[in-house]
């Protein structure tokens, strides 16, 4: 009901919302913490009137009414203030008096979230818990048939190669030039831009990666995303751990060019972003309110303007030209010492790109980003309904390389939903056995290292609004200062170290301690005959 007592088509009640606030009057102390912390002001302290009808036993006196006023939490029901289920209220409540609960039926808000003719936009993920990767089992446990290893006892050095590995005869024929190849850890922190992420989150991840490299000897690499790279990082030894991304917005590239002569180290690689799995075919937009002085400095843009990354590179007209132009230009910038590879959204046309790259000796890899990837901002339609699953896409690409005899030459990097349900190592291992040389992980890391409360059941997903209650995707100091970069770094280290243990648990029974079981699909099984057939893996029941 509206304040004027009228109903409108979009007048919603609590029952119509996806998330309902359960509030316990008995436990509440009216401390105001929940309302202070709610990112969307979905709740307020409100006045309630209560009526008690007093009827004396035996009706010896005239019955009467007693009216009382009490105060308590009320959930707002207008579209703008609909609860997103982030649960910050429950997090700060000293008495456990409040909690968002998911509606027991599909909500009605979805029919009204296009107010003003603007379709729903949000950050986050696909809102589907389904995962073919989760359904895969590692069925080759070679305790007695292979030299089985003990993940807890044996020494492992799980590494992968990023870069073009030419056959010896070609390498020799190429006038002495060898394509650059990096030996790195198979888990790559996916590119999330400085801007999409808060400065504290971004620095925390970078710091954690540096720690993993320098303190634990794990050559983990991290992508910058398309938002430039802080000038100090460009001029530091830590640049070695960084994969610089160039995308259609070309943000921050003048600063990178200026820094080139002063770089102490080459970056790990250059990633040319053509697409993103979470929102294939669509570009990015950093909203003006996120473009503060700092973002402006890093991206080399004016402050307070919205920054679009168009869906396509403005001067690219074909795969051939894209490959020739971008890969060559980027390689040239670092004297052909740095691997350069494109990243595309997984698509039914991935093989066309791959075959093109196979003919180009400068192409260092191909990154495929599946539909389960995350994003800071996208149209709901792109997130929920567009894209290609990563499993079959990476499998097709790998088998295609096998067919042309180049499976050891062009590494495939798989991304998009790795660890979406918390099974990071299992998903990564499955992708590796399907043919990936490495995996990129984004939102799973944000959840683990930043404490993101988002979920595949549409919880929170406020990344695009700048209101991230954990300070992960906000540029508002009041929010991002909730996040301590040091703690983020510590958590990242925990995540990667435990990932490493889990990955060892999977590969040890295969007798692998150094080289990864890339494409070793006879180790994979699934209890789904059609999936097994489609992916050429074992059908096990």
């Amino acid at each position: 009901m509206e304040p004027d007592g009228q109903l409108r088509p979009s007048s919603l009640g609590v029952k119509d919302l996806p998330w309902q606030i359960l509030w316990d009057k008995q436990k509440c102390t009216l401390c105001g913490r929940c309302t202070a912390v709610c990112p969307v002001q979905a709740i307020e302290i409100a006045v309630h009137r209560r009526r008690v009808l007093q009827a004396p036993l035996g009706l010896t006196e005239k019955p009467s009414n007693v009216y009382r006023v009490y105060h308590g939490v009320r959930q707002k029901t207008d579209v703008e203030h609909a609860c997103t289920g982030c649960g910050m209220c429950a997090l700060v409540c000293p008495n456990g008096a409040i909690m968002p609960v998911r509606n027991d039926e599909p909500d009605k808000l979805r029919f009204h979230i296009n107010q003003g003719g603007i379709p729903r936009r949000r950050g986050g993920r696909r809102n589907s818990r389904e995962s073919i990767l989760d359904a895969m089992k590692f069925v080759r446990i070679s305790m007695l048939t292979d030299p089985a290893l003990d993940a807890g006892r044996h020494e492992f050095e799980l590494r992968t190669l990023i870069g073009r590995v030419l056959p010896p005869e070609e390498a020799i024929a190429e006038h002495g030039w060898q394509p650059p190849v990096r030996e790195i850890y198979p888990l790559i922190i996916a590119g999330m831009s400085f801007g999409a992420l808060s400065p504290t989150m971004w620095e925390g991840l970078q710091m954690g990666v540096a720690y993993l490299n320098e303190e634990l000897g794990m050559p983990v690499r991290i992508g910058t995303g398309e938002g430039g790279c802080p000038p100090r990082l460009l001029r530091s030894r830590f640049l070695k751990y960084v994969i610089l991304q160039v995308a259609s917005g070309y943000f921050g590239w003048d600063e990178i060019i200026h820094a080139l002569p002063e770089m102490k180290e080459d970056p790990c690689a250059i990633e040319i972003k053509y697409g993103q799995g979470a929102k294939p075919g669509d570009g990015g937009l950093l909203m003006w309110y996120k473009v503060n002085r700092m973002i402006a400095a890093i991206r080399g843009v004016p402050q307070g303007v919205s920054l679009p990354s168009p869906p396509t590179h403005q001067t690219m007209y074909s795969i051939e030209e894209s490959v020739a132009k971008m890969i060559q230009s980027m390689s040239m910038a670092w004297g052909f010492r740095v691997p350069v590879y494109p990243k595309i959204s997984a698509t039914s046309t991935s093989l066309a790109v791959l075959n093109n790259l196979a003919r180009n000796p400068y192409a260092a890899a191909l990154a495929l980003d599946g539909e389960d990837g995350g994003t800071g901002a996208a149209y709901n339609i792109s997130l929920d309904h567009m894209g290609h699953p990563i499993a079959s896409n990476v499998r097709d690409a790998y088998l295609n390389l096998v067919k042309i005899g180049k499976q050891n030459e062009i590494p495939l990097i798989a991304a998009g939903g790795v660890g979406k349900n918390g099974n990071l190592a299992a998903n990564a291992a499955a992708l590796i056995m399907l043919g990936a040389s490495a995996v990129q992980v984004g939102k799973s890391i944000l959840q683990a290292a930043g404490g993101c409360v988002g979920s595949e059941t549409d919880r929170c997903n406020l990344c695009n609004t700048g209101l991230c209650p954990k300070g992960i995707t906000s540029q508002d100091p009041r929010l991002y200062r909730r996040l301590d970069p040091e703690k983020v770094a510590e958590r990242l280290v925990d995540v990667v170290v435990s990932f490493d243990t889990e990955l060892k648990k999977i590969v040890a029974p295969l007798g692998r301690s150094t080289s990864l079981p890339i494409g070793m699909s006879d180790a994979l099984g699934i209890a789904d005959a059609s999936a097994a057939q489609r992916l050429s893996i074992r059908y096990v029941v």
């Binding site: 401390c31 202070a36 006892r153 634990l216 830590f238 002085r293 400095a297 100091p477």
Partner: protein, 785 residues
């Protein structure tokens, strides 16, 4: 040892199988042999499982080539001496045997040994002393090695003691081999000589304590004695500091892996490489240190604001006269009843007549209380009480002269206001009596005559009134323009509008009818039809009944525009409303409609509005469709001539009074030269008129009794007024604030305000949530750069 039996592992030139050799050893024991020599040819598992040895010891000497697993599952009382070297898994699962090997032993020595002792006179291979146990019921196992250990020593060791003497070891630079102690959870290793890296997570390195040293030196004597190498004792024990101990860490010690703290890494590596402030220290312009999730002060996302009287209440906003209704109730709540009553006269000369009786009370119609289905507080009571209001004292004389033509509601309003501002105002009217429609046409049934008399008298005491007794002429108007600084036209609409339809000459104009009726001179028909069901039509209907009509039908081409109250009065009197009805002609029979029906009538009254009589207007004052054209300040197209009321636009009494007030303000500004004339009226608007109406959702009606009721007196009205947007000074916010951040500050002359201590406030909005009047608002804090 002198054996009582020699068992040969070779028979007839053929090697006896491990199974048969074991059966022969077991048979020899059961035959009573206690000293047995075995000539071995690589057979496995020799010397183990001698079940009776615990109570009756058995000695076994192995010569030749012992195979794998010598002494496997060995038992207490079994003594095994291997004269040469031993193969893999020496003493596997040893449960008590004492095994001595003179030479080297290969991989897996003592694997899973739980009791007993193993002595090796040379080096041992890889994976020695792994998975050993210490059963608390029995003595722990021991392994003594004269040389060094191979790689992966003591993996998952869970008990017992290993002694590695490091004497003449094959790899003297590392007597424990590569990566010992992985997964070690119990027991200890006493060793002598250099070692490489070991699993620091699992084991800790330290010196021997006195007990251990004593135990070692004593044990070495026995060990070396069994090997026949007692000459080495002196050398091995000459330097206690050459010996060290690797002992398993307790589980609780393992938790803290020896990792560098991130804080240290950040300071010593990260910031050291990047510079002060880390990654973006050079381009970040503000503090980035962590803040708590519930922040105060500048770090609050939202801040409360006390927006007292920053929004208009709907009553005031909807009053065309602009009477500050909320403020009047507030004064009454404070006990200042006279002040509340007097306040009205600053806005209208007719507070009792109009607010108390004749106005449809837009204030009440728009009362916020309706949003919760509550009765509006009754401003008519307040209006009626204003009969006793005392006229304010005018400002000092300005000497400016103003002529107001017409003494109706708008004329009297503009004159009243200008007089209060100190100007000399003269009013001219064609009638003898001021009041216009109030005294001329509005039926007596709607208001007691003495109320009007009282208020007209109050006006006459303030204003100079001239009765012209004739319609104004062009010449007279011209004279006024010369004689006065300003002329205000407020002649009203005196010319009834008659729709030119066949038979229109038969109709009686409503205006004429009402004027006559007020003088009790009107004649009325038996059956009356009134064309036009507006407020005037309704008045005509009730008057027609009063004068004796038997039936009255009001027709209109659309939904009647009359107010609900007026319609109800007419219906109560017996009137019937019909719409939409389109009149075709008026005949002797009555009103003929376009649809063919005829409404029988012997009197037809037309009430479709009136037009001003403006024959006196000069050319330079423009009209449009019969009404005078004015700008937003009510100025006509001629300078110094203003026009208000029905001569400009037909409307309610309160609208005419409001127009008079606004025009007076513009005229006053013009005469004082303070504000330049502006046709849009900008600069001519009071602050309060620029304010928005308070959003109804901000006012909390839950604080009031929800039962339907009528208000009987001023006090209960005042108490139940929600005071929309104006602080009631109830102290709810101060009490409700969980942080105790709100306090009341008092100033002079009853001034007060509520303020927030930002250092305590967390921006929860409780104040805004509980505030009955909607004065508190929670707004986003200023963005931080």
């Amino acid at each position: 040892m002198v054996p009582t039996i020699v068992i040969d592992g070779m028979e007839n030139g053929l090697r006896v199988s491990s199974r048969v050799l074991d059966e022969r050893i077991q048979k020899a024991v059961s035959d009573g042999h206690r000293r047995i020599e075995v000539i071995a040819y690589g057979q496995h598992g020799l010397g183990g499982r001698i079940w009776t040895s615990a109570n009756d010891p058995v000695e076994l000497r192995i010569v030749g080539s012992s195979g794998q697993r010598v002494g496997a599952m060995g038992l207490p009382g079994t003594r095994i001496d291997v004269e040469g070297a031993a193969s893999d898994d020496l003493g596997w699962l040893n449960a008590g045997a004492c095994i001595t090997v003179k030479g080297h032993a290969t991989n897996g020595v003592g694997n899973a040994m739980a009791q007993g002792k193993i002595y090796v006179g040379g080096d041992i291979g890889g994976r020695g002393m792994t998975m050993t146990k210490h059963n608390p019921r029995l003595d722990p196992p021991e392994l003594w090695v004269l040389g060094g250990a191979g790689d992966f020593f003591a993996e998952f060791m869970a008990g017992g003691t290993a002694v590695i003497c490091g004497y003449d070891a094959a790899h003297g630079d590392n007597v424990l081999g590569y990566r010992p102690c992985v997964g070690m959870v119990g027991g200890k290793i006493l060793f002598r000589g250099p070692i490489g890296a070991f699993s620091e997570r699992d084991a800790a390195l330290r010196a021997l304590d006195d007990t251990e040293w004593a135990w070692l030196t004593e044990g070495l004597k026995d060990f070396l004695g069994r090997l026949g190498r007692t000459e080495l004792l002196k050398g091995l024990t000459s330097d206690r500091n050459a010996w060290r101990v690797l002992a398993a860490r307790h589980s609780y010690e393992k938790g803290a892996a020896p990792r560098r703290t991130m804080k240290d890494f950040r300071e010593q590596s990260w910031d050291a490489e990047l510079g002060k402030g880390g990654l973006i220290g050079d381009i970040a312009f503000s503090d980035r240190s962590p803040v708590p999730v519930l922040a105060t002060g500048n770090m609050r996302r939202f801040i409360p604001v006390w927006e007292n009287e920053k929004y208009l209440p709907p009553c005031q906003a909807n009053c065309p006269t602009g009477i500050p209704v909320r403020k009047r109730w507030d004064l009454i709540r404070r006990g200042k009843i006279q002040e509340a009553v007097d306040l009205a006269l600053l806005y209208t000369p007719f507070p009792a007549t109009v607010c108390g009786y004749l106005c449809p009370n837009l204030c009440m119609q728009n009362c916020t209380r309706h949003k919760a289905d509550l009765e509006a507080v009754d401003t008519r009571i307040l209006g009626k009480a204003s009969l006793n209001a005392k006229a304010p004292t005018p400002l000092p004389d300005t000497g400016k002269r103003i002529a107001v033509i017409g003494a109706g509601p708008s004329g009297l309003s503009v004159a009243w206001q200008l007089r209060l501002k100190g100007h000399r105002v003269e009013i001219f009217d064609s009638r003898m009596r001021p009041g216009g429609k109030i005294t001329g046409t509005i039926p007596r049934s709607r208001i007691p005559e003495e109320v009007i008399e009282h208020e007209i008298k109050r006006i006459e005491e303030m204003l100079a009134f001239h009765a012209l007794n004739h319609p104004l002429t062009k010449d007279e108007f011209g004279d006024f323009r010369h004689q006065f600084d300003i002329v205000v036209i407020a002649v009203g609409a005196q010319k009834p509008r008659i729709i030119p339809i066949p038979g229109s000459e038969r109709v009686v104009p409503a205006l004429t009818f009402l004027k006559e009726s007020r003088l009790d001179r009107a004649k009325v028909g038996r059956r009356v039809v009134i064309i036009g069901a507006g407020n005037v039509g309704c008045d005509a209907a009730t008057e027609a009944f009063r004068l004796g009509a038997e039936s009255v039908v009001l027709i209109d081409v659309q939904k009647p525009s009359s107010s609900e109250r007026e319609q109800q009065n007419a219906k109560d009197a017996g009137a019937v409303f019909l719409w939409p009805r389109f009149t075709k002609a008026i005949t002797a029979d009555g009103v003929e409609l376009r649809d063919g029906e005829t409404l029988g009538a012997d009197m037809v009254i037309m009430a479709v509005g009136d037009l001003p009589e403006l024959d006196f207007l000069p050319e330079d004052i423009k009209t449009e469709r019969g009404f005078i054209v004015v700008d937003d300040t009510f100025r006509t197209t001629a300078p110094n001539v203003y026009a208000v009321g029905d001569s400009v636009r037909l409307g309610l009494l309160t609208e005419a009074i409001g127009a008079g007030r606004k025009a007076a303000r513009a005229i006053d500004n013009l005469l004082r030269g303070e504000v330049p004339p502006d046709p849009k009226g900008r600069g001519n608007v009071q602050t309060e008129e620029r304010l928005f109406v308070i959003p109804p959702g901000r006012v909390k009606l839950e604080y009031y009794d929800p039962r339907p009721r009528h208000f009987e007196d001023i006090a209960s009205c005042a108490a139940n007024c929600a005071s929309c947007g104006g602080c009631r000074d109830c102290g709810m916010c101060e009490t409700a604030c969980p942080q105790g951040a709100i306090s009341r500050k008092e100033g002079e002359e009853g001034f007060f305000e509520y303020t927030v201590n930002g250092e305590l406030c967390i921006g929860c909005g409780t104040c805004a949530g509980v505030c009955p009047t909607g004065v508190w608002n929670l707004v986003p804090n200023e963005p931080l750069k």
